[in-house]
């Protein structure tokens, strides 16, 4: 039977039924079209977002911490990527043999590893900052629940040599000491992130948007010269060992620019391996430890006396009988010298002579000079714990105190302050601020503390100190004229002067046109010798000779072996 002849067709159905079906189908279609229009065109963000989340990824863009370099571009601190191994303890169910292998690979104690993996946390660091090769081998073991994370680690290739200047960073790459702290803002970068679309092979095919561009840390170019720094460090180390001293410090300055070319302290530490650190190693002594400078202050007293016109280069001062009583106290020289010119007072380091000069000066003038030279105020170079030293207000000075201050007692300074003040002598009387970053050329000072004429005269006196008949013939350097001053001071312990000494020497060369200032301080030399001229002056000569040669400074004296004079000629310094 054909369909057209089917008896069912004979039944007349109500026409509304067909229309109802039509309307329902049409309504269905309209709602579908409307819905798709709504999803595709009007409210499409939701679906786009859902889609992207299936194949878009947010990538972390880490920023590298800037490098620290010396003035010649040698790298002193650099960050390179390392891996940290971390675990989800719940997932990390290791076989005992696996745990043993992992502990061995990571060079850690097996029990410590098990303790870490037993912790009730979602995330534990197993070992931070391992080298990429070891990290690859850890991943090669394919252990459950053990993962890697990229991190940066700071390396200091020069190790302990410039440790105090550079400081170090913590495990989170923030500066904690030294330059790393002082220049943290400049050095640290800001990590960024970007959203990208990846295809199924993991290739990045499109940038969705740049959320944050990373800001790389900037490099810091220091004024330090790695060669001179090493020279200063090794010479100081040798001297400390020979003299069985407790500690020591060296500062090398460029007299033309005020740049710090080297700064070494002992004891020191290795910033690459900072386990078992003690406070004494961490101390940047040149900045944080104050001491009574002793005779190294005398040139300033003499300069002020010359500047005020009270004395001339060759004015005679009677230092006999080697003692001077002021009120209840007595100042004495270690030798009786008799009549001395101002120049000889400096050369032979006579306390009585210096005190007599000081007593002719107004306390106010002396205080202003010390203050202008920077004593009593921190240098504010951004180092943590920078000491200011002690300079009491002149209104409270008694005459005896004014007299002792003239030869560096009753006043305390840091080594860097002392070296800084000697800039005035090396620079025709003006003072420039110290800097740890590289300068482009010579700097002119705006602070004129002494007349140029005075500075020239004091320079000539300081040259006599290193000649036979002065206190420091051992500071001589073949081929260069050298000027400087020794200092030997008792240490104060519990408010009284102890039988322990600080030997120091501050000097500059070439004396005809000073280029470098070197200040040396040796704390508690205990191998018999303790005078600045015996302990600190040889260190000075060694560093200065090497540094002048390194910088290629023209010689200003004939090259001949140095003349130490006879043993009897060398003057013992007064304390």
């Amino acid at each position: 039977m054909k369909f057209s002849q089917s008896p069912v067709l004979k039944h007349e159905l109500a026409p509304w039924r067909a229309r109802l079906v039509l309307v329902l189908l049409l309504g269905g279609m309209v709602s579908l079209v409307g819905r798709s229009l709504y999803l595709q065109a009007i409210n499409n963000e939701f679906l786009i977002g859902k889609g992207e989340s299936r194949y878009a990824r947010v990538l972390e863009l880490p920023a590298t911490r800037g490098r620290i370099m010396d003035r010649n571009g040698d790298v002193l601190a650099i960050s390179t990527p390392v891996k940290s191994v971390w675990a989800i303890p719940e997932d990390a169910k290791l076989q005992p043999a696996q745990a043993r292998d992992l502990a061995k690979l990571l060079d850690m104690d097996g029990r410590e590893l098990n303790r870490k993996l037993a912790e009730d946390k979602d995330f534990v660091f197993v070992k931070r900052q391992v080298s990429p090769e070891i990290a690859d081998r850890v991943m090669g073991m394919k252990l459950p629940g053990i993962h890697l994370q990229n991190e940066y680690r700071r390396y200091y290739p020069a190790g302990e040599v410039p440790a105090h200047v550079l400081g170090f960073t913590g495990v989170n790459d923030a500066g904690q000491e030294g330059i790393e702290l002082a220049y943290n803002q400049q050095l640290s970068g800001q990590s960024g992130s970007r959203r990208v679309i990846k295809d199924r092979r993991g290739n990045i095919v499109e940038d969705v948007e740049n959320i944050k561009t990373p800001i790389e840390g900037k490099d810091v170019l220091l004024s330090l010269d790695a060669k001179i720094q090493y020279l200063a460090f090794s010479s100081l180390k040798q001297a400390i060992t020979e003299n069985r001293a407790k500690a020591g410090g060296v500062v090398v300055l460029d007299a033309k620019t005020g740049e710090i070319l080297a700064l070494a302290n002992l004891p020191t530490y290795n910033p690459n391996n900072r386990t078992n650190l003690i406070g004494a190693q961490l101390r940047n002594r040149a900045f944080t430890d104050t001491f009574e400078p002793g005779s190294t202050m005398k040139p300033f007293t003499a300069a002020l006396a010359l500047d005020k016109g009270k004395y001339r280069f060759d004015t005679l001062i009677n230092t006999a009988p080697g003692k001077l009583t002021i009120g209840p106290a007595t100042i004495s020289d270690s030798h009786m010298h008799g009549m001395l010119t101002v120049a000889q007072v400096i050369q032979k380091s006579s306390n009585v002579g210096a005190a007599k000069m000081a007593l002719s000066l107004a306390p106010e003038d002396m205080w202003h000079m010390f203050d202008n030279l920077g004593f009593g105020t921190p240098l504010k170079m951004g180092f943590p714990g920078e000491a200011s030293g002690r300079l009491r207000p002149y209104k409270t000075w008694k005459p005896i105190e004014q007299a002792t201050m003239s030869y560096g007692h009753g006043i305390s300074v840091t080594l860097i302050q002392l070296a800084h003040a000697y800039l005035t002598m090396a620079r025709d009387g003006d003072l420039v601020p110290l800097t740890l970053t590289k300068m482009d050329g010579p700097v002119t000072g705006d602070k004129n503390i002494f007349n140029a004429q005075t500075a020239h005269e004091v320079r000539a006196m300081l040259e006599m100190v290193v000649q036979p008949g002065g206190t420091a013939p051992r500071a001589q350097i073949p081929g260069y004229r050298v000027a400087g001053k020794t200092g030997t001071a008792h240490k104060i312990e519990g408010g009284v002067y102890a039988n322990k000494y600080i030997a120091s020497f501050v000097g500059f060369a070439p004396a005809s046109d000073p280029r470098l200032i070197v200040a040396v301080m040796v704390d508690e030399p205990s191998a018999g010798k303790y005078y600045g001229g015996d302990v600190a002056a040889p260190v000075f000569a060694q560093i200065m000779a090497g540094a002048l040669r390194t910088l290629g400074v023209a010689q200003d004296a004939p090259m001949r072996p140095i003349n130490l004079g006879s043993e009897a000629d060398q003057v013992k310094e007064s304390m």
């Binding site: 040698d74 290739p157 020069a158 040599v161 499109e206 081929g479 010689q555 072996p561």
Partner: protein, 89 residues
Amino acid sequence: MARFNLILLSIAVICAMSAVNANHHARKLFIGLEKEQQRMRALDVEWGQLQLEQSTWAGHARVEKIARERLQMKTPGAAQVISLEPIQP
């Protein structure tokens, strides 16, 4: 009329195809760029490590040690040095 429409249609198809092609090409180039950038970062890291290595090998302490101990070098004394004055023309 129908002919004109046919031409328009073929133009539209050609445009669509070239758009797809251009998009594909752009993606390929982008992947290439990404790869090169990744290589750049890897080289940057390697450079940093090489710098570190260089400054370790060329460390002043190591140089001095080798110069003094293996090569038996010494600082010349004052008597062994002749300093020359620059000749004024």
